[in-house]
C-alpha cells in the first residue's frame, strides 16, 4: 500500500510536533487507540478495580453488534451515502427469526430473514443508484416501510408467540473461558472480510472512488449504480446479522429492538474517522469507535447518574471526541 511507504519515508520527522501530526493524519488509528486507552484509565479511576478481563469481555460483547452496524455506515459513507434503515432492518431480522424458528427451524429462518434483508437493501440500492434519490431519504423511507411491515407481521404472528432461539442467545450473550465473548467467533471473520473487501478488492476501491469523486469515477468507467446496489445489499445483510446478535444479547425479540443503535452506529463510524462526505475512512477505525462509544456508555452508567445526565454527557462526549479527532487529523 502506498500509505505504508509514505509513512516509512517520513519516519525521521516523527520527533517533531508537525511530524506527530503527519503521523496522526496518516495513521488515524493511533490517536483513536490513545483515546480508548484514556477512557479505560478513566473507568479505572472512577471505579477502582473495575477493569478486568471480564470487564473487557463485556465491553467487547456490547461493542460487536454496534461495530457491525457501524460497518454498514462506514461502507455507505465511503460513497458519500448513509444507511438509516439499519436499525429497522436489524430489529426486523431478529424478530423474524424469533417468530419463524418454531415453524421452520433455525437455518431456514435465518435464510429467510437474510433474504428479506437483501431485498430491502436491493431496493435501497436501486433507489440510491438508479433513481439518484439521496441515500438519507431512500433509507429513511425504507426504514418506515420495514417498520410498518414488521408491525403487520407482529399482528399476524401474535397468537403463535415468539422466543429468541437458544443458538442466538449463546452466540450473542455467552462468554468462552469466562471472558471471551462468543460473538467474536462471528465477528472476527466478518471484520476481516469487510477490511479485505475495502482494502484489497476492486469493489472496495470503487467505493472509495465513487465517494471521492463520482464524476471522475464515472468517466473512468465505473458503473456507480451497480456498485451502490451491491453495497446497500451488503449493508442490509450485515444489519440483519447484527440483529441476530442484538436479539441474542438482550434475549428480546421486538420490532424496535435495534432502533436505539442507529444513531450510535453513525457516531461510531464518524468517531472512527470515516468522512460522512465520502472517500475517506476505514473499518479498523470504526471498530475502535464502536468500542469507545461502548466504554463511554459504561462509564456513564457506572457513575450512577440519572438517565438525563447520562444522555447529556453522552452527546457532549461525542461532540468532544469528534472535534478533537478532527482537530488532530486535519490541519
Amino acid at each position: 500500500m502506498s500509505t505504508v511507504d509514505a509513512a516509512t519515508s517520513r519516519r525521521p520527522r516523527w520527533a517533531t510536533a508537525g511530524g506527530i501530526r503527519v503521523l496522526f493524519r496518516e495513521r488515524p488509528i493511533i490517536p483513536l487507540l490513545g483515546m480508548l486507552a484514556m477512557l479505560v484509565v478513566l473507568s479505572e479511576v472512577i471505579r477502582p478495580g473495575i477493569v478486568s478481563s471480564n470487564w473487557a469481555g463485556v465491553m467487547i460483547r456490547g461493542a460487536v453488534p454496534l461495530a457491525i452496524l457501524a460497518g454498514c455506515q462506514t461502507m455507505t459513507m465511503l460513497t458519500a451515502g448513509i444507511d438509516l434503515s439499519v436499525g429497522a432492518v436489524a430489529s426486523m431480522s431478529g424478530f423474524l427469526v424469533a417468530t419463524l424458528v418454531a415453524d421452520t427451524g433455525l437455518p431456514l429462518a435465518i435464510v429467510i430473514a437474510l433474504a428479506i434483508c437483501a431485498v430491502v437493501g436491493f431496493v435501497n440500492g436501486i433507489g440510491a443508484g438508479v433513481f439518484r434519490v439521496h441515500p438519507l431519504i431512500m433509507t429513511l423511507g425504507m426504514s418506515l416501510v420495514v417498520l410498518g411491515l414488521a408491525n403487520v407481521w407482529q399482528l399476524i404472528r401474535v397468537q403463535t408467540g415468539s422466543g429468541v432461539p437458544s443458538g442466538f442467545r449463546q452466540l450473542g450473550a455467552n462468554m468462552m473461558f469466562g471472558f471471551v465473548p462468543v460473538n467474536l467467533l462471528l465477528f472476527i471473520p466478518l471484520a476481516l472480510l469487510i477490511m479485505f473487501t475495502l482494502n484489497r478488492t476492486g469493489f472496495g476501491r470503487l467505493l472509495y472512488a465513487i465517494g471521492d469523486n463520482e464524476t471522475a469515477s464515472r468517466l473512468s468507467g465505473a458503473k456507480s449504480w451497480q456498485v451502490l446496489t451491491v453495497l446497500y445489499v451488503i449493508s442490509a445483510v450485515l444489519a440483519g446479522i447484527a440483529g441476530f446478535l442484538y436479539s441474542g444479547l438482550t434475549n428480546v425479540a421486538s420490532v424496535t429492538l435495534a432502533d436505539s443503535a442507529l444513531l450510535p452506529s453513525v457516531a461510531a463510524a464518524v468517531i472512527g474517522g470515516t468522512s460522512i462526505l465520502g472517500g475517506r475512512g476505514n473499518y479498523s477505525g470504526t471498530m475502535v469507535g464502536a468500542l469507545i462509544l461502548t466504554v463511554i456508555s459504561s462509564i456513564l452508567s457506572s457513575l450512577g447518574y440519572p438517565e438525563a445526565v447520562r444522555q447529556i454527557l453522552f452527546g457532549s462526549m461525542i461532540v468532544f471526541v469528534a472535534a478533537a479527532y478532527t482537530r488532530i487529523t486535519t490541519d
Binding site: H134, V146, V266, A267, A308, G315
Partner: protein, 332 residues
C-alpha cells in the same frame, strides 16, 4: 407567473434562470394540486368530513409543519439539524413547567423566554458546527442526546400545564368555521419571521451559503456567521413548534416525538434540495399537510395504521424518485 416569463430575456449562466424559479414554484404548485385532490378524495370517502375534520387536521399538523420549517432553515444553508425533535421536547417542557398554575400574563413572558431559549440552543448547535468543523449531521446528532437529556432534567415525566390563551390560540375556528386557528397561527408565524427574512440580505446570504459556500465567502458573506444564524433560525422555529406542542396537548412531554426524521422527509418532499440553497418553506409545510391527510384518509378507509406507516415510507421514496427522475431528464 406570466409576468415573470414575459419580462425575462434570454438568460445566461450568470443570471438566475427563470426556469429554476418556475421549476421551484412548479413543485410547490404541484404539491398544492395533490393537496386539493386529496381533500376531494377525503370528502368522497368520508362525506361527513367538514370543519371539524379540517380543524383536527390543522392541530395535528401544526407542530410537524413548524418542525419542517425549522429543518428547512438548516437545510437551505447546506446543513441538517437532527436535534429538532429534542429541541422541541426541551422547549415544550420548559414552557409547560413554567406556565403551570401561573397567571396568564406571566405566560406571555414565558413564551418570549422560550423563543429566546430556542435561539440560544440553536446558536449552540450552530457554533459547534461552525467552529469544530465536524460535519453538521454528526454535531446535531450528538446534540440530539444533549437536548433530550436537558428535557428530562426539566421534567422527568410528562406534566406541567399550558396557559389558557396559548391553548385557545391553537384550538377552535377563526372567523368562519372553515379556517382553523392553528392554520392562522402557522401562516402568521411564517409571514412574520420567514417572509421578511427571505427578502432581506440575511435571507439572500442564507441561500448563497447553501448553494456555494466558497462563492458566498468570496462575495463577502461570512459563512461562519450565516451558518450559526441558520441554526439559530432552526432553534427558533423548533421553540415555536415546542410551544405549539404544549399548546395543543396542554402538557410538556420530555421524550422527543418522531419529528426530526419526519421533518427531513417533509423538507425533501417539499422540494428543498438537501445539497442546500434551493427551495422554500411553503413546499415542506404543504408536504406535511399531505402526509397527515393521507394518514387520515387511511384511517377512514380502516387501513391498519402499520400499513399507513408503510404507505408513508413508499410515498416518501416514490415522490422523491419521481422528482429526481424529472431532474435527471432535465439534466440530459
Amino acid at each position: 407567473m406570466t409576468a415573470t416569463v414575459t419580462s425575462s430575456k434570454p438568460t445566461t449562466g450568470t443570471r438566475r434562470p427563470v426556469g429554476t424559479v418556475l421549476r421551484r414554484n412548479g413543485w410547490t404548485l404541484g404539491l398544492l394540486g395533490i393537496l386539493a385532490l386529496l381533500l376531494v378524495i377525503t370528502k368522497i370517502i368520508q362525506p361527513s368530513y367538514g370543519p371539524g375534520g379540517v380543524q383536527g387536521l390543522a392541530i395535528s399538523v401544526l407542530p410537524l409543519a413548524l418542525a419542517a420549517v425549522a429543518q428547512t432553515c438548516a437545510v437551505l444553508a447546506r446543513g441538517i439539524d437532527l436535534s429538532i425533535g429534542s429541541m422541541m421536547a426541551l422547549t415544550s417542557v420548559v414552557s409547560a413547567s413554567l406556565m403551570e398554575d401561573r397567571s396568564e400574563g406571566f405566560a406571555v413572558l414565558v413564551v418570549f423566554g422560550v423563543l429566546l431559549l430556542g435561539l440560544a440552543i440553536g446558536a449552540v448547535n450552530g457554533a459547534l458546527v461552525a467552529f469544530t468543523r465536524v460535519p453538521d449531521i454528526v454535531v446535531t446528532l450528538a446534540m440530539l442526546f444533549v437536548w433530550a437529556g436537558c428535557a428530562l432534567l426539566v421534567l422527568s415525566t410528562p406534566g406541567g400545564g399550558s396557559a389558557a390563551w396559548l391553548s385557545s390560540l391553537s384550538r377552535g375556528p377563526f372567523l368562519t368555521q372553515w379556517i382553523p386557528r392553528a392554520a392562522v397561527v402557522l401562516i402568521v408565524v411564517i409571514a412574520v419571521i420567514w417572509i421578511p427574512l427571505r427578502r432581506s440580505r440575511l435571507g439572500l446570504s442564507l441561500y448563497a451559503v447553501g448553494s456555494d459556500p466558497l462563492a458566498a465567502f468570496r462575495s463577502g458573506v461570512s459563512v461562519t456567521r450565516i451558518k450559526i444564524f441558520s441554526y439559530m433560525l432552526a432553534g427558533l422555529f423548533s421553540a415555536i413548534a415546542g410551544l405549539s406542542l404544549t399548546a395543543t396537548t396542554g402538557i410538556g412531554t420530555p421524550v422527543p416525538g418522531p419529528y426530526t426524521l419526519l421533518s427531513v422527509a417533509a423538507v425533501v418532499l417539499g422540494g428543498v434540495s438537501l445539497a442546500g440553497g434551493r427551495g422554500g418553506v411553503f413546499g415542506p409545510v404543504i408536504a406535511v399537510v399531505i402526509l397527515s391527510l393521507i394518514r387520515t384518509d387511511m384511517t377512514f378507509l380502516n387501513v391498519d395504521t402499520n400499513l399507513a406507516t408503510v404507505a408513508q415510507g413508499l410515498i416518501l421514496v416514490g415522490v422523491v424518485m419521481v422528482g429526481s427522475l424529472i431532474q435527471l431528464r432535465r439534466d440530459r
